[in-house]
């Protein structure tokens, strides 16, 4: 990683993406779950209403059928008019009726005059032609008025529910049949009603007494107060017809209930189911939805975490890559194969790193050039962005050599630190001068220096420039020599320069490139330098001619120089006019 790591972001991408992805899954799930629960509840309530309602209607029809069945039996007994004497066939019919219709506990037949003609009972003694007057009996009056009369529910002995049913014949002469009916038999209809596991039905009469209940002992108890919650339940249902109503039953359980009435007796059949059971499917569905929701949320969280982690991981990889490239590792490549825009971005960054590497290589090369070119020359190469000026060619150059006299003896005598320090000061002085004259420092060799003028960058009057530079060199170094002589070191400094065509260019391997010149002129300049005395600047003829009269040159006696067949004419630069340097 990079050293200058950026400050962590104020809001992490991870959090943002995680929250967004998570919400994208969980919110629709929640909405779906909630709507399912709500609509499920409504549907279930409607279904429950229908179910309870149909059960109540069915029970009402069955009870009505039970009562009508007894009325039908009775109407058989009042089809024929009474004759004067005892009617044996009618007695037999009455006995058969009693055998047939178990709920009828006793049957009384009254003639047109309101006299009891026959009484048959399961408990009491049968009576024939007793003649007792029943014309004032409400059952007789009611039956004559309405043909079928249904009496109120009476609790015999304070417990058993009974009712009287009286039916009058189509003709007054047929009289009236009065039956005492044990309503415990309705219990059969009521207890047969099962809604779900524990749903049940019960019957209330018009004043609100229990006529039938699955727990028969509640009916037998004939208890007004225990029927009170059931009456309240009925009142609640009446207040909201056509819908299942919530209320509590005798045990205090919350129940849903509907009602159907039996108009002929003004009874109410109420069918109830405990709320917990009625809405059991909804609760189950809610549980299911809840579990799905949690599972979905966990899945969403995992998915969101994975996706976010992936994206953030890639971004971190990119960030790291950019940081590496930024820190100069141009060979670093970001490895991303996501196939998406991030991969594109990584490729772009990799391309960028490649281009940076190329550009960096060039700038490095240029900075290497600066080692032997004068800064302004290097700048020139740099600006042109093209270092072809350094390619090999043959040009007219001025080669300048200079070195110290007596340096070997000095270095043998002195400490290494002293030598290095002396050389450093010496080169600084030379470098200043070379730079000032725009010349090219080609090489150092111990205390010797080779300088080119007019290559690689051409300049006007190269010979004159070289002579001026050599004089400046002498001036600068002589100052140093004065100091050193004062320190007891007997050193001198000589310069030789020659002008002529030479092959210039870069030579060397890829790792170590140098710019240099090859040719006779180089040898000549070197020999002239070697031949020069301390403080002397020796110039060859070509350079001397090129300088002409601009500089005061004194021709010396031609000398024999190593590597040259003939004597070489030599000029020495005259004592320069006093300079400001």
């Amino acid at each position: 990683m990079v050293s200058n790591a950026p400050t962590p972001p104020r809001k992490s991408l991870f959090t943002k993406y995680f929250v967004a992805l998570f919400a994208a899954v969980v919110v629709p799930l929640l909405v779906a779950g909630a709507s399912e629960a709500w609509f499920g509840y409504r549907d279930q309530r409607a279904r429950l209403s229908d179910l309870l309602d149909s059960e109540a209607r069915l029970a009402a029809v069955k009870i009505e059928y039970f009562l009508e069945g007894i009325s039908d039996h009775l109407s058989w007994m009042v089809q024929l008019p009474w004759s004067a004497g005892a009617d044996e066939r009618r007695r037999l019919d009455a006995l058969r009726l009693l055998r047939q219709a178990q709920p009828i506990m006793s049957l009384r037949l009254i003639d047109a005059a309101g006299r009891e003609r026959l009484f048959v009972s399961r408990i009491g003694l049968n009576r024939v032609e007793s003649g007792d007057d029943y014309s004032g009996d409400p059952a007789v009056i009611g039956a004559i008025a309405q043909r079928t009369w249904l009496g109120p529910v009476v609790f015999q002995g304070g417990s058993e529910p009974f009712m009287t049913i009286a039916v009058a014949g189509t003709r007054a002469a047929a009289g009236v049949a009065i039956a005492e009916v044990n309503l415990k038999f309705i219990w059969e209809v009521i207890s047969a009603i099962r809604v779900g596991q524990t749903g049940a039905a019960f019957v209330l009469d018009q004043p609100g007494r229990l006529v039938a209940h699955p727990d028969i002992s509640l009916v037998l108890r004939a208890d007004e107060t225990s029927a009170l919650p059931l009456q309240l339940l009925r009142a609640a249902i009446v207040a909201e017809p056509g819908e299942a109503v919530a209320g509590s039953d005798t045990e205090g359980n919350m129940v849903m209930a509907t009602m159907a009435s039996i108009p002929m007796v003004e009874w109410s059949v109420i069918v109830k189911q405990p709320v917990a059971e009625a809405f059991g499917p909804i609760y189950a569905a809610l549980w299911r939805t809840g579990i799905l929701l949690i599972a979905g949320a966990i899945l969403a969280a995992l998915l969101a975490y994975w996706l976010t982690q992936r994206v953030v991981g890639h971004i971190r990889l990119l960030e790291d890559g950019v940081a590496r490239i930024g820190s100069g590792q141009f060979d670093h490549r970001i490895q991303l194969s996501t196939g998406d825009e991030l991969e594109q971005l990584a490729e772009r960054l990799n391309e960028m790193a490649g281009e940076l590497a190329v550009s960096n290589e060039r700038s490095e090369r240029i900075s290497r050039l600066k080692r032997f070119l004068a800064p302004q020359v290097a700048e020139l190469v740099d600006r042109s962005g093209d270092d072809r000026v350094l390619d090999g060619r043959r040009v007219e150059v001025v080669v300048v050599f200079c070195d110290l006299r007596g340096f070997t003896a000095f270095s043998a005598r002195s400490e290494p630190e002293t030598i290095i320090r002396a050389l450093s000061v010496y080169y600084d002085a030379l470098d200043r001068v070379i730079t000032a004259h725009g010349a090219t420092l080609v090489s150092f060799l111990g205390d010797g220096v080779m300088v080119l003028v007019n290559a690689p960058v051409a300049c006007p009057d190269p010979a004159l420039r070289a002579v001026a530079m050599a004089r400046d060199m002498q001036a600068g170094v002589q100052e140093l020599l004065a100091e050193w002589r004062a320190a007891g070191h007997d050193l001198g400094f000589g310069v030789g320069l020659a002008m002529g065509p030479a092959t210039v260019g870069r030579i060397g391997s890829e790792g170590r490139l140098d710019y240099t010149a090859i040719g006779n002129v180089v040898n000549l300049a070197s020999r002239l330098c070697a031949s020069a005395k301390d403080g002397q600047i020796l110039v060859d003829r070509m350079a001397a001619q090129a300088v002409g009269r601009a500089v005061d040159l004194v021709e010396l006696e031609a000398r024999v120089l190593k590597g040259f067949d003939q004597r070489v004419p030599i000029f020495v630069v005259g004592t320069p006019p006093p300079t400001t340097m």
């Binding site: 047939q100 709920p103 003694l125 304070g158 417990s159 059969e188 002992s217």
Partner: protein
């Protein structure tokens, strides 16, 4: 037809023309197996499960069919003997005087509820011995008049149970017998003087006799060795028939009575269907199978924690009339259509 409610309520018989196919589903209790289980002494009881103290006036053999009905009722409330309830029985073997001592024995055995079926004697014996123990009785007659409960709808005390109409319908037996022999004016009445309900039954019979214009002669029998004397006396006085009052002692000995009636050629009517089934002439009385099943249901409900005071006394309203035509033929009697059309079961 009857119907079972979901939580195992008892049954009511409605119009018989409706299908009674449902009855078959009760056959899951093999009656003989249950009777055998009851006959075995209820020995190893586990304290963890509730115990029913069963006070039997007779023997397990004589009570077999009643025990089956009781077990059915118990099963309807979810109790099965040996699985989640155990039954500790004491049998008086017809010696009703021993009942209070047996009841005390049961009460001392720390039973959860005492069941006292088979008549007022058993209920009264249980009442004297039980202390605060809940009691379920099964009897014919009026438990209010017997001082067992305050009222039918609100028993109030520690007792509740089932009554049948057997005692109330004694007079109907006289009526049926008179109908069978319309010419006869004298009828013999068999009564058990030790029965708590004998007084009220004889009073009701006297009233019926005067209404029907008949004379009655009461013959007492409280032990089985006195049975023969009843039949010889009835025959000797030339009675039109012998009418048995409702009494469990008689009811449990129906087979013996049927045999004596046939041997002495006396037309007789008792309360129990076992009598005509064993060859006797007629019976009219409550359906003991229903009353014993209801007893089982009430015992189960009390085991579940309900208070006898809150459980109304149930009346089994069904009364059944049996005629055995073979017996009538043997006695040289012609059964009139009025009786045949009233009979629930005619044995041919």
């Amino acid at each position: 037809m009857s119907v079972v409610s979901g939580d195992g309520q008892l049954l009511y018989r409605l119009c018989h023309h409706r299908a009674n196919a449902w009855m078959r589903r009760r056959d899951f209790i093999a009656s003989m197996a249950v009777a055998a289980a009851w006959a075995a002494p209820a020995g190893a009881q586990q304290s963890a499960i509730p115990v029913i103290g069963y006070l039997g006036p007779e023997t397990p053999e004589r009570s077999a069919s009643r025990l089956v009905a009781f077990a059915e009722g118990l099963a309807e409330t979810g109790y099965v003997e040996g699985r989640n309830v155990s039954i500790l029985s004491r049998w008086a073997d017809g010696k009703y005087l021993e009942l209070p001592a047996l009841a005390a024995e049961l009460a001392a055995s720390r039973v959860t509820v005492m069941v006292a079926p088979g008549g007022a004697e058993v209920a009264l014996a249980a009442k004297t011995a039980a202390g605060g123990l809940p009691i379920v009785f099964e009897l014919g007659g009026d438990p209010v008049a017997l001082g067992l409960v305050n009222s039918l709808s609100r028993p109030g005390g520690t007792m509740t149970g089932v009554t049948s109409l057997s005692v109330e319908v004694s007079r109907k037996r006289l009526e049926f017998m008179s109908e069978l022999s319309p010419a006869a004016k004298l009828f013999a009445i068999a009564a058990n003087p030790t029965s708590p309900t004998v007084g009220s039954q004889l009073k009701s019979l006297d009233a019926a006799a005067s209404a029907l214009g008949l004379r009655l002669h009461v013959l007492n029998a409280s032990k089985s060795d006195e049975f023969e004397g009843i039949f010889t006396s009835a025959r000797a006085m030339g009675a039109g028939g012998l009418v048995f009052t409702s009494d469990p002692y008689f009811a449990y000995r129906s087979a013996r009575l049927a045999e004596l009636a046939a041997r002495h050629g006396v037309p007789a009517i008792t309360q129990a269907r076992d009598f005509p089934l064993a060859g006797g002439l007629m019976s009219y009385g409550g359906d003991f199978r229903q009353s014993h099943r209801h007893t089982g249901i009430y015992a189960g409900r009390i085991l579940k924690g309900e208070k006898p005071a809150d459980l109304p006394v149930q009346r089994v309203t069904k009364v059944e009339f049996f005629i055995n035509l073979k017996a009538a033929q043997a006695l040289g009697l012609t059964v009139p259509p009025s009786l045949l059309s009233s009979a629930d079961v005619v044995i041919e």
